[in-house]
Symmetry: C2
Subunit: 349 residues, 2 copies
DNA sequence: CTGAAAGCGCTTACAG
DNA sequence: CTGAAAGCGCTTACAG
């Protein structure tokens, strides 16, 4: 490894000068021709800084930690990692991911370990949108919650705009000409449930359609999926907003049983847009994509802006995405999601 | 943070002595009562070593990097991370995961970055079992390949025992009384394909059953799945070894079309045991689980044994698993996989 | 504008 | 058995 000392020797200056130049602290402090020479030699010798040594001195490691209950074991949220990683990279940070599988002891141990390594801050991510209390081990650390909200309202957080999902899905069905729109929901333990429901109701209300109890259902995937699907069809639904892709199966199966055609007789809009399940649905499923990548990206930018105490808003402009990101100045952000059009919604004629 | 200096001050010895004691280098070198006092104070003050400072001196960071093309975005291999993480933790290492999405430039950049941080070695993992050449950026680094094999045969590696999967699946069907056993395979671009096929053929051969061309098929999931399923049933198969869970759909659908019952008229053994797909198969699918956790665990142990130049075989004994792990002295290991029994195989009567 | 020096928290040859 | 000292590669107040 080539060090600052090597450059100093080669250039005939002190390592102090090399350090100042290479850290961009040379304006009006170092003679320009010297600065140029230092930079040139750094280039020639292929110098790269040793972040470990720098960190020992500055108490800043340029590492950020991502703590997650289950990211690595589920297909749900892996893209959070990608987004966080890309943002970290853009600012010269290394992302370190740790899975805790919801084991509090392991979580504590891993956080402690990362703190020993001098991590500058943490992203605390969960498998699905939920309200959480931060573990004690994070006390005093810069932290941003991803796909989760702080029960104490203190920690900045980012999540999907669940209400907007309900509204957009319902509006999509209205635009397709549906008039009897059902909500095939989930048990209310997930915070997404009441929010998507409220968005659904708001859209109906805005369209002048009165809500009907038998059209807004709670579906426990392992218990009453088939039965609830039957209920929805009995109620004469011509459009269904489904809580997630996994539940869609019950709707497709019931439609087939009744000889109804999805995308013609009945339109379906779902949430998740799971690649893995795509092959199971014919016609292909129109589904809203949760902004995992964007949450990871936003979260990391927010965290780094907290660590460095500066405004990083510009960074968000470089992310190409279908989702709509809130400004970094927001403390509890919600990302507007994109709907991925396939064939399960009737073409407007 | 409490440092060695604090302990030295409190104990009235030098930091050199503290270091020696806390690193277990006191045997016959430090007076036992002093050693005891140092350890005691370390305990009382809640000392934890600063791995960054230690690393600067020793050139060893106790970090290992996990490079993967797509682990975080797929449900296939997330458990590799868990296994590697658990093993790393057992030996006091921090695992740092990086996703490259098969982007060579990004991969190079991330490896370089991790090397700057002084990681002691790398795990190089892929989304599915394949033959790979290590990127140049890893030259000179301790590396172990996970769910992949080195094209050059140099780098140690660990993967599933694909041949064993084919043999075990087929034997399971034989044990259930099947006599016309089909292999519902995949295109041979995956190295798993020829190996599972060979295991299938070996099991048939051992049972004295002649192979039949029309029972051993290649299925391109996006092209001819339904048609191939029809072929298999036309050929009179009463047992089917299916390459993976995703392909099983075609078999179940075709069985339904013909009024045949899976688990009675036709038995199915698959590979992957995907949780996410479980709900789609009725009766529930008997499937062989790929040893992702075990591969990650074994890979990390192997890597650390290389880094530290010592034998860590005992570590494997503590892993509770259904799979059979090779000894750490092996350079190119294959893990025998477990079959997870559900209801898609006929009960022997 | 620049350098010598101290120091971040460790480890380890060297000397005693 | 133990300590003083040097050093890992940086940064930064201090002095000039």
């Amino acid at each position: 490894m080539v060090t600052m000392k090597d450059i100093a020797l080669k250039t005939g200056v002190s390592t102090a000068t090399v350090s100042r130049v290479l850290n961009g602290k040379d304006q009006g402090r170092i003679k320009p021709e010297i600065a140029r020479e230092v930079r040139h030699q750094a280039e020639v010798l292929g110098y790269t800084i040793n972040p470990i040594a720098r960190g020992l001195r500055t108490n800043r490691s340029h590492m950020i930690g991502l703590i997650s209950d289950a990211i690595a074991t589920t297909p749900y949220a892996g893209r959070i990692i990608l987004g966080a990683q890309d943002a970290a990279r853009a600012f010269g940070y290394l992302l370190t991911v740790v899975n805790t599988g919801d084991d509090a002891e392991l979580e504590h141990e891993q956080i402690t370990m990362m703190r020993r390594y001098g991590v500058d801050g943490f992203l605390y991510a969960t498998m699905y949108n939920q309200i959480r209390t931060l573990p004690d081990a994070l006390d005093g650390c810069a932290t941003v919650m991803v796909d989760a909200e702080d029960a104490d309202g203190q920690c900045p957080s980012i999540g999907p705009d669940e209400w907007g999902i309900g509204k957009d899905a319902t509006n999509r069905l209205l635009a397709a000409g549906c008039t009897r729109i059902a909500y095939f929901g989930c048990p209310p333990v997930l915070i997404a449930q009441p929010r998507r429901l409220a968005g659904y109701e708001a859209a109906l209300d805005h369209a002048g359609i009165a809500p009907e109890n038998r059209l807004a259902l709670t579906v426990d995937e392992n218990v009453n999926g088939a039965q609830r699907a039957a209920t929805v069809f009995d109620a004469g639904a011509d459009g269904i907003f489904c809580f997630n892709d996994v539940r869609v199966r019950f709707i497709y199966e019931e439609a087939e049983r009744r000889g109804l055609h999805i995308g013609q007789d009945v339109s379906v809009v779902s949430v998740d847009n799971f690649e893995l399940l795509a092959g199971f649905f014919e016609p292909r499923l129109t589904s809203i994509e949760l902004p995992h990548y964007e949450m990871g990206y936003w979260g990391a930018c927010k965290l780094i802006s907290m660590i460095e105490g500066r405004d990083l808003s510009d960074a968000l402009d470089t992310v190409v995405t279908d989702a709509v990101m809130p400004d970094l100045s927001v403390d509890h952000g919600h990302i507007r999601c994109a709907i991925i059009e396939k064939e399960s919604v009737r073409q407007a004629s």
